[in-house]
């Protein structure tokens, strides 16, 4: 469960998120969409506590919150295996729980899951952007978290890898009943993973509904977004 109430956040006096409220039940996936710069990444960082909110409330159910970062954020001095097992080896409450052999097994398992078997010894700089993304996905889910925040998990991936990740997001949700937020620009990701969609514009929620409603609704914002049109209510930065 993730519950956001009257959340407000401003950078340098400019409100990026303005009085936002929504709730995600456990086992539900929310797609967060919106213009570039509309505060989607900011929202995720607020939820996992990386930045401080100005006002409002954020409650999450107990357990870990995981985040897949927009630009992967892999530890570049560690190889793939050490990246994935980082939390298992370094977290104070987990560090003595797993033997090296168990860790090896978990890493291999997670790598297979994201379709990257056998790259344990490679360093992040030796991987393509899409491969890095998938490794960061594996790293985030290694502790089997209760809430998962995905910041553009499929952007920059080929359609097949995208589907692989999307399928896994769904599978993970079904298996662990995790609440997830998927920030994405891709209609395919919304369609395949989301139970509900929230669209942000200028700090406010301008649409909330199912993916199906998003496609069919007469909402000017979603129409513009779905049709990738320059004409519509969203003009920020378009002059």
């Amino acid at each position: 469960m993730i519950k956001v109430q009257n959340l407000t956040k401003a950078f340098n006096g400019k409100k990026v998120l303005d009085d936002i409220s929504f709730e995600i039940k456990s086992g539900e996936t929310l797609a967060l969409v919106g213009f570039s710069g509309s505060g989607k990444s900011t929202m995720l960082k607020l939820i996992c506590g990386l930045i401080e909110k100005d006002s409002g409330d954020i409650t999450t159910s107990d357990g870990d919150i995981a985040m897949v970062f927009q630009y992967s954020a892999l530890f570049d001095s560690l190889n793939v295996a050490d990246n994935i097992s980082f939390a298992l080896r370094e977290r104070r409450d987990l560090r003595d729980k797993y033997s090296p052999d168990e860790i090896k097994k978990i890493v291999a398992e997670k790598l297979e899951l994201v379709g990257l078997k056998g790259i344990e010894d490679k360093f992040p700089s030796e991987l393509s952007g899409g491969m890095q993304k998938r490794v960061s996905f594996a790293r985030a889910i290694v502790t089997e978290p209760n809430s998962i925040l995905y910041d553009e998990p499929t952007s920059g991936l080929d359609p097949i890898s995208s589907t692989l990740i999307e399928d896994y997001i769904v599978r993970l949700k079904d298996e662990t009943k995790a609440s997830s937020i998927v920030v994405t620009h891709q209609m395919s990701t919304i369609q395949r993973t989301a139970d509900r969609v929230i669209m942000l514009y200028d700090g406010k929620i301008v649409f909330e509904g199912t993916p199906h409603q998003m496609l069919k609704s007469g909402n000017d914002y979603t129409k513009q977004f779905v049709n990738a049109s320059l004409k519509g209510p969203m003009t920020m930065g378009l002059g």
Partner: protein
């Protein structure tokens, strides 16, 4: 009168200078507080240090830097000795050369020159490494994985500085005195025997202990300041550059200040 001063102040360069200075002073205090806070957080994480990582950081701090450190220390001894040895011999003070050199090396040159060398090599590399981790969100990723980044990154690095700086300092002292002996022989024709007999008289246990204490403090200052400055980096490549510069400047100033306090405390 006050009014006209006020008017003058409002439009003048004086205002700019004063306000600029005030702002710089605030920034200075801010940095000082930031470093202090990190020191406290790091101290709390002391018990959780990863042995393997500590070994690696010790190797990085103490061993990879050794060739440059020893070159810098011995070359500065060569410079000093070649300047004074011949004059001292000419004035009939040849039997003081070894003593002068060993006092200089053990008390000051070995430790401060190693400090400067280590700032430029290890301090800058620690700062840019951690700053890059900051601007590429690796530190955020660590926090989301519930691993305290200050404890995880700072503790092995600071400990490595405190452990290895005295080792570097001892090696540098030995090499420094040897470099002095060779220089005195070449520049002033002083025999090795005369040099070392005199050098021995200049080496005191107290000096060595004070220098080791200084080395521990230098090692802590360099690593703590470099890690802290890197940790607070903002923005992209430019932020990494600024953080590295700040780390180097602050480390330089810090070890000179620490050195001064040691001098006041032990040799006044």
């Amino acid at each position: 009168m006050i009014n006209s001063i006020g008017k003058y102040y409002k439009h003048s360069a004086t205002r700019l200078i004063f306000e600029g200075m005030a702002k710089q002073f605030c920034l200075f205090l801010e940095t000082l507080g930031m470093i202090g806070m990190h020191a406290v957080t790091a101290a709390r994480g002391l018990g959780f240090v990863d042995k393997k990582e500590l070994m690696y950081q010790c190797y990085r701090f103490g061993i990879t830097s050794l060739p440059i450190t020893l070159s810098i220390v011995s070359m500065s001894i060569v410079i000093v000795t070649s300047q004074v040895a011949l004059e001292m011999v000419k004035q009939g003070g040849g039997h003081f050369v070894g003593m002068a050199v060993s006092i200089l090396v053990v008390r000051e040159l070995a430790v401060i020159m190693s400090g400067f060398a280590l700032i430029s090599m290890i301090g800058s590399s620690l700062a840019s490494e951690i700053a890059t981790m900051r601007v590429t969100e690796q530190i955020d990723a660590m926090r989301v994985l519930k691993v305290e980044p200050v404890a995880n990154l700072f503790v092995p690095r600071i400990l490595s500085g405190m452990l290895m700086m005295p080792v570097v300092c001892v090696i540098a002292s030995v090499v420094g005195v040897l470099a002095g002996a060779v220089t005195a022989e070449l520049a002033a024709g002083l025999s090795y025997r005369a040099f070392f007999e005199s050098a021995w008289l200049g080496i005191f246990a107290k000096d060595m202990f004070v220098s080791l204490g200084k080395a521990v403090c230098f090692g802590a200052c360099i690593t703590l300041i470099s890690c802290s400055c890197g940790f607070e980096a903002k923005g992209g490549a430019k932020g990494v550059g600024e953080a590295t510069t700040k780390a180097v400047v602050w480390s330089f100033v810090a070890i000179v200040i620490v050195d001064m306090f040691f001098a006041i405390a032990f040799f006044f």
